[in-house]
């Protein structure tokens, strides 16, 4: 098995997503597996973007924690990531504009400064000036050499990408690619890998994000109405839907707000079409009132909630899994609904199709939970996982109703299954009102004139009966990994991907580990999960949030407490080694150290410098002082000028609180 991770770092607007895409698709066409993650900010130009593309000859389910090659598109990217490149790795940068201090890199790392001016000189002569963004193609060429892959697939991809722009543009890009490739070949005699060693199965796989998979699945499942209001990280579903509306025939509606989105989607559901909407946590907060309406009205409709860093506007472009209770508690009162959280892109596809079918069958809203990582990261998946030959199961509707013969139509007939016959609006003879007030079998309100406690009791029971029936047809979660493990990891959603790899690493290390991923949140497989967890030894939840919400939730359903929690809530996804280390620490009963680490102190100093317009400085050395007047030990960080390396002052940061306690430049200033 062979794998490498390429990191591309720069600012928004530097075009690095395009480059990453080219790289990934080249590898995908080569028959390799790719998993990419883009760490970006809520900003259109500038800021810092950090894209990691992991390439492997077997399926990988997270972006990992290695860094083989860093392509740095600006100076800040060097400051931030040079240290992360593993031994044996390379750092590529435009040496016309960027410098990399030797002090910033690990030993065994090779710098590959590319003078873009020189390298692209020939191309520029032939095709005209090379725009900064095009220089990325040069870097891609160099990367292809370092990976031991040819340029053939990449040329193909570039040809497809620029097909609309004509031959000239294609040729220019190909020429830049080759220039980079040749340049690297010249400088780096031995690439990281040898091509032949990549165990490719030569299967060409689509490179797709979670959101694209959800959108495509909706189309395949017969969705006819999609409403949305833009919100990261759900917007790309809207973009897919809008871009392809002409082809799919789906009515795609950007509404004035999420309240409108939810209510319109429900309206379309009442009208009789398969209907979906998606948003992030903040938008979903606005939809919750409508969710309950769909519940009491028994309307099939799909809500997708893509979680991002909270609370509130929080970290709009960062990943988190902290909305479980918002979704579980959505809307006042009690009503049946399905809550499902797919774990990867293929599962997102399948779950979307299943959601439409279950919504229709049980006449209820489905809340699908995703997260930024799952929804926005692209990955190569087998084309079969995106098949359009899905089962589309719609129940029979009443086509015409003879009230003379059969009595008045009862839209909410009390049945043993809880499912009532449905006649869509437009059906002759079956007129009825779909109401958010509670009602009797015919839909007549029992909240006003016709109050009736026993009717209320029975309609509540009718509705809630559907839950138990639905649970029977949902597959119970299964323990993955060895049966009698020392450690059982509990996870949900996209965290499955990294937990799977961490478990593998732990098993390799001799710590027998298995893991349980919860997909169906409501209804919940209480019996099966209780059984699994009560047999487990050391149970540790792994979640990207602060309060281990799934662990709490599982405890509520099963009574079983975890023995430990692994959490991350800084906006970045978990990585396998973090989990491994934390599991080891917990097995050794170490308590979690929340103090500021050296690397963190460094980053906090960088943050201070950036936000105080002192970007010309850089933290150089640091040491801990105990107490020091501020009531806690402090990190004392020496500052140096970025260019001259001249000492420039100090910053003191509380090692418990992380507070910047003091800042001294020339003349002392308290911060």
């Amino acid at each position: 098995m062979q794998e490498v991770t390429i990191g591309i770092a720069g600012a928004a607007g530097d075009g690095l997503d395009k480059s990453g895409d080219t790289l990934a698709r080249s590898c995908g066409r080569f028959g390799l597996h790719v998993y990419a993650y883009n760490s970006y900010q809520s900003i259109i130009r500038g800021g810092h973007i950090w894209l990691r593309v992991r390439i492997s000859d077997r399926k990988v389910t997270c972006h990992g924690d290695k860094l083989g090659v860093l392509v740095a598109l600006n100076q800040d990217s060097i400051e931030r990531h040079a240290r992360e490149v593993d031994e044996g790795g390379f750092i590529l940068f435009n040496s016309d504009r960027i410098k990399c201090e030797e002090s910033l890199i690990k030993k065994g790392v090779t710098l590959l400064p590319i003078s873009m001016k020189e390298v692209t000189e020939e191309v520029a002569k032939k095709y005209g000036p090379v725009k900064p963004i095009m220089q990325n193609t040069v870097a891609m060429g160099a990367v292809m050499w370092l990976m031991g892959l040819g340029t053939e697939q990449t040329e193909e991809v570039l040809t497809d990408t620029f097909s609309a722009k004509g031959k000239e543009v294609i040729d220019m890009n190909v020429a830049l690619l080759e220039a980079g490739y040749e340049y690297a070949k010249k400088i780096v005699s031995k690439p990281i890998f040898v091509a032949g060693k990549w165990e490719s199965d030569k299967k060409r796989r689509p490179f797709i994000t979670g959101n694209e998979a959800i959108a495509m699945a909706a189309y395949a499942a017969g969705c006819k109405f999609y409403a949305a209001y833009p919100m990261t990280p759900a917007s790309t579903i809207l973009h897919w839907m809008a871009t392809n509306a002409k082809k799919t025939g789906i009515l795609v509606k950007q509404c004035e707000d999420e309240i409108s989105v939810a209510n319109m989607a429900i309206g379309a559901g009442i009208g009789g079409v398969r209907s979906m909407c998606a948003t992030a946590g903040g938008g979903f907060a606005l939809m919750t009132e409508a969710v309950g309406m769909a519940g009491i009205m028994e309307v099939p409709v799909i809500f997708v909630e893509v979680q991002r860093g909270g609370p509130s506007t929080g970290l709009p472009t960062k990943t988190e899994q902290a909305d479980l209770f918002q979704v579980f508690g959505a809307s006042q009162g009690e009503f049946p609904r399905l809550i499902v959280a797919p774990r990867d892109i293929a599962d997102a596809y399948a779950s979307t199709v299943e959601s439409f079918n279950l919504a229709d069958k049980y006449q209820l809203p489905v809340l699908m939970m995703s997260d930024l990582l799952l929804s926005e990261h692209p990955e190569t998946v087998d084309a079969e996982a995106l098949s359009c030959d899905v089962k589309v199961e719609r129940p029979e509707y009443i086509k015409e109703w003879d009230a003379e013969k059969n009595g008045k139509f009862k839209r909410y007939k009390f049945t043993e299954s809880g499912i009532s016959p449905r006649a869509l609006p437009g059906t002759p003879g079956a007129c009825h009102v779909t109401a958010s007030d509670d009602h009797d079998e015919r839909g007549i309100l029992i909240s006003d004139m016709f109050t009736s406690p026993p009717v209320r009791r029975k309609i509540m029971e009718k509705r809630m009966t559907k839950v138990a029936n639905m649970l029977k047809e949902l597959p119970a979660p299964k323990l993955e990994g060895p049966a009698n493990a020392d450690v059982t990891l509990l996870c949900w959603g996209s965290t499955w991907g990294v937990v799977r790899e961490a478990a593998e690493l732990l098993n390799e290390k001799g710590i027998k580990t298995n893991f349980l991923c919860i997909k169906y949140i409501a209804p919940f497989h209480t019996k099966e999960v209780t059984e699994i967890l009560s047999k487990s030894k050391k149970k540790i939840s792994v979640e990207v949030n602060f309060t281990s919400v799934m662990a709490q939730f599982v405890k509520m359903q099963t009574g079983v407490s975890m023995d430990g929690h692994i959490t991350k809530y800084d906006g970045e996804p978990l990585e396998p080694k973090m989990i491994v280390e934390e599991v080891e620490a917990q097995l050794a009963s170490k308590t979690k150290d929340l103090s500021v680490s050296e690397a963190e102190a460094m980053e906090m100093a960088y943050h201070y410098l950036r936000t105080h317009a002192l970007e010309k400085l850089r933290p150089s050395t640091l040491k801990v002082h105990s107490k020091n007047g501020s009531g806690e030990p402090v990190w004392e960080i020496e500052l140096a000028e970025r260019i001259t390396n001249k000492s420039a002052g100090t910053i003191k940061i509380g090692s418990n609180t992380g507070s910047v306690i003091e800042f001294k430049q020339e003349s002392p200033v308290n911060a």
């Binding site: 689509p206 002409k246 509404c255 309240i259 939810a262 209907s275 359009c388 609006p425 009102v433």
Partner: protein
């Protein structure tokens, strides 16, 4: 235009009797909608009445047709969804002034600028009826209510002007106390292609002791009697919408032909969504997957 076969008004008699207070203006509105549907020959199964929450929003329960009794302030988006799913049905939105001009006014504005082909009848009683009498966005300055015992200090909304400048293409005013005119106005609104708003005075006899039947009776007059042409000039229509203290015009204030949202929406070119097949074009789908490789 297809010939219309009128239906007997009784066709629309609802399953249960209205539970409004005796004398409530909403009775006249219900009757008018029933008459308008009958006159336009819309069969009950092709009529969809959508409401929010409020006394007035109970109306769908009292008419024989399909209905949605949705959330407070959300009748417009719900109706938009139902309508776009099945454009073969005639949609009439109903509700109160609080529902439509208070909590729901954002949706209303956006629906109007879309010129969505629906009719909206607001039962404007200048009060929150169902919640027992608080100030509403159409309550006048100084109006004493449960929530403004010292008198309302906010200027009332002018819903007609709002509609005209937002893009509604049929803007009218009705009065429950002029029931025949109201029925005719609603009938015309239903036949209009585009968004039609019929702001209707529908006195709340229990909580509004100011804007009563006599109060309106003293002031209202029929625009059609004055020869006013609602299609002539936006600014003249706007001026009419501001008449209030002494005389208040009833009837159609503004009318304008414009493309509707439905005209522009590609997905509807093949007919009502709900009647389209769920089958997808597999070859096209495959090409979408291929694009990702």
């Amino acid at each position: 235009m297809a010939t219309v076969t009128e239906l007997p008004v009784e066709t629309f008699k609802g399953p249960v009797d209205p539970d409004w207070c005796p004398g409530c203006g909403d009775f006249g509105v219900l009757k008018s909608i029933q008459e308008a549907a009958a006159k336009n020959g819309i069969k009950p199964e092709n009529l969809m009445v959508v409401s929010g929450i409020g006394c007035s929003s109970n109306l769908p329960g009292f008419i024989n047709s399909y209905g949605v009794h949705s959330l407070h302030g959300r009748s417009v988006p719900v109706a938009t969804g139902v309508h776009l799913a099945n454009t073969d049905m005639k949609v009439v939105i109903v509700g109160g002034d609080g529902d439509g001009y208070g909590i729901g006014v954002g949706h209303l504005i956006h629906a109007m600028r879309r010129n969505l082909d629906v009719t909206y009848v607001v039962m404007d009683n200048q009060i929150y009826g169902l919640t027992t009498g608080q100030t509403s966005p159409t309550s006048g300055i100084g109006h004493k209510t449960k929530s403004t015992p010292l008198g309302n200090i906010e200027n009332p909304i002018n819903p007609l002007a709002l509609a005209m400048i937002s893009g509604a293409t049929f803007v009218a005013r009705g009065f429950s106390g002029e029931q025949k005119l109201l029925a005719d106005t609603i009938a015309a609104a239903m036949m209009h292609k585009g968004f039609s708003l019929v702001d209707t005075f529908s006195p709340c006899v229990t909580y509004n002791k100011i804007n009563t039947y006599p109060w309106f009776k003293e002031r209202v007059y029929k625009l059609e009697d004055t020869g006013f042409d609602p299609t002539e000039n936006l600014y003249k229509s706007l001026e009419k919408s501001y008449e209030w203290d002494e005389k208040i015009p009833l009837g159609i204030l503004y009318k304008h032909e414009m493309p509707t949202y439905e005209d522009g929406e590609l997905a509807l070119k093949k007919g009502a969504l709900v009647k389209q097949s769920l089958e997808i074009d597999k070859a096209m789908y495959k090409s979408l997957v291929d694009e990702l490789i």
